[in-house]
């Protein structure tokens, strides 16, 4: 936590126990925690409190989580981490499309929660001057468009570099196939996930210690990729 004042996080969940647990974990990590138990309350709290980040359960009793996101995104760019259940690939993608920044699958660990939250909160405080990113032994120099691995330069094609840069800019956060395809190949390429698979394989071969068991360039089941912020 680099900022002087603590981050304020709004937890929107209808389960008391889960709210209590999230408060425990977040307060232990020096966040300031606010709670709302319905989507409606969550939206009004978000408007009055202007939290730095929102943890939103997709399964709320009053409003569909995606609807909450849609209304929130009409006026706010606050980072949102959604809580979802396994097997809800469509829900996850839907939430990400509706403006969520990342998701967490229940049951989750406190460690995961904090890592995801840290990653999405970075978005509101982008290190504008951030020119070099280190991931493991890989160093990405955005100004020089240079990638080094253990000090030695790695030759990447233009597309490979673009893909890596995009993931690095969103490191720690999930990016969907569609987001990457749209960003790198344009809106018409959204169905061409096989392009992406091929480039990802190349990137892993060039950057991962063991490309078969990637440590950094992780696949998110049925959703997209995540560059793990190690």
């Amino acid at each position: 936590m680099t900022s002087s004042h603590p981050f304020r996080v709004l937890v929107v969940d209808d389960e008391v126990q889960l709210r209590r647990l999230l408060r425990l974990a977040l307060e232990a990590a020096h966040y300031e925690v606010y709670e709302a138990e319905t989507g409606q309350l969550g939206l009004s709290e978000a408007a009055s409190l202007h939290p730095d980040g929102i943890v939103l359960d997709l399964g709320l009793p009053d409003l569909d989580g995606r609807e909450v996101l849609r209304r929130l995104r009409e006026w706010s760019q606050t980072p949102v981490l959604v809580l979802t259940v396994r097997d809800g690939e469509d829900d996850k993608i839907g939430a990400l499309d509706a403006g969520a920044d990342d998701y967490l699958t229940k049951p989750f660990s406190g460690r995961e929660l904090l890592a995801r939250l840290r990653a999405i909160l970075r978005r509101v405080q982008p290190a504008a001057e951030e020119t070099v990113v280190h991931i493991g032994e890989v160093e990405i120099d955005f100004t020089a468009r240079l990638v080094r691995r253990a000090g030695a330069e790695v030759k990447l094609t233009a597309k490979e570099y673009d893909l890596l840069r995009y993931l690095a800019q969103h490191r720690g956060r999930v990016v969907t196939h569609q987001q990457i395809l749209r960003e790198l190949w344009g809106a018409n390429a959204e169905d061409n996930t096989h392009y992406l698979r091929v480039y990802m394989t190349h990137l892993r071969q060039k950057l991962e210690p063991d490309p078969r068991i990637p440590r950094f360039l992780k696949t998110e089941s049925g959703v997209g990729y995540r560059l793990v912020d190690a």
Binding site: D87, H194, Y195, R212, P214, G222
Partner: protein, 515 residues
Amino acid sequence: MTSSQKNAHPPTLRERLLAWPENWREYALAGSVVAVITAAGWKLLPESYYLSVGLIYLLGVILLCLRVGRGPVLFAGVLSAFLWEYVFIPPHFKFVIATLQDGLFFSTYFVVALVAGELIARIRAQAENERQREQRATALFNLTRALAEARTLDEAVFAALRQVDGLFGAQTSLALADETGAGLVAHFSSSYVLEGADRAAAEWVFRHHRSAGRFATNRPDGTGYYLSLVREGQAIGVLGVKLPPSAALSFGQRDLLEAFARQLALSVEREHLRAASEREKLLAESEKLHRALFDSVSHELRTPLAVINASTENLAEADPSLRGTLVKEILTAVRRLNRTVENLLDQNRLESGLLKPRLDWCDAGDIINAAVESTHDALDQHPLQIAVPDEMPLVRADFALTEHVLANLLHNAAHYTPAGTPVTLSAGIEAGGRRIFFQVDDRGPGFSPVVRERLFKKFARDEGGRPAGLGLGLSIVRGFVVAQGGEVVAGENPAGGARITVYLPHATPKLGSPT
């Protein structure tokens, strides 16, 4: 005996109209035979041979008996007697019998001709009866055979009704008792619809177990004739027959219809009994399944809950050195609980029919990694070898479903084999290039033939192995693979142990050069 009764099927209107000329033809034949004998006798024979002419007449009448019915024979007998007396017996052309001998001849002739006609007619009637009996036997035989050959009640009823249609030249209708046994439901193979007076007649028959409708004393306003199908005092249906308006129903036909109704009733009852026993069996089966599910779900949920409960209670008072162990126990129990819930949800997803695979191009290595990661803890006692060829193509699959499939297979391999034995997960293209395969090999006891038989069924567990798990794992594996157009095969690891292979259809992506 009218002609309509001679034929087994009742005459149509046309036949009935033609019946009179046909009968007239017999009378004409009789008349002409008598006329020919009269003319020939008059022209060719001397006057004194008039007694011989009588014998020739008699011969003619007897011969006629072979061809025509009783009426024309009698007609010929009477006509010839009077012609004989009028033309041949002296004095000619006068109804006078002059001598006693002539009188005796004439009256004997008259009686012999009548008796001969009557006798012949009886013999013919008997033959006709015989023929009808045979027809009836054949019809019943055909019906019984059709009923026996039919695989379902519907088939049987259809066959039976079509036979009645053909045999009686009629339309037929069958209504069976509904489930409550109080109402009638028309069978689809009926050739006419029960309406109005017919419906009322059929319902009357159903309630009173007696026939009704046309040709019957009860409810004669219906256009059809209705018989009840009764088994053991219980009406199970009504058979209706609609004969053409001009046709009559003979006793023989009525009898035949009743026999048909009895056969049909037997058939229907047999089907009811079969269905009832089937239902009972299904019920027992589902009850058994239900109990098995309940037992194993309750076991699979309670065991980890008990562990969590006990460990948490101990946690507060436990020696600090033990806390790590207790927390580990809790985590293990939580994972098991989570797995049970996931399997139940997956199975439910499969059974609800809501499962729609999202096929996309996937990296087989990615799927394998995800599966290995999620089964990391279960596999800690087993060295895992992964064998994926370098040139492994992209797989067209649902990533998450395939990941679950592999995770379940890995979990099973770890669970049912002794600690320390290796597990191998391999992937590749099948020889021929049509399918991609994922294969999990273990070095455990393998599958016994009995187990292999029901391996992919719900709640099937290898009783020889460690008694744990819901027995849903492989059923889910198969469900997920089949949903993606693939196939799962259980086999043997050539090196000893079990082998399960998952096949998915293989296609090559149209890889242009993306720019």
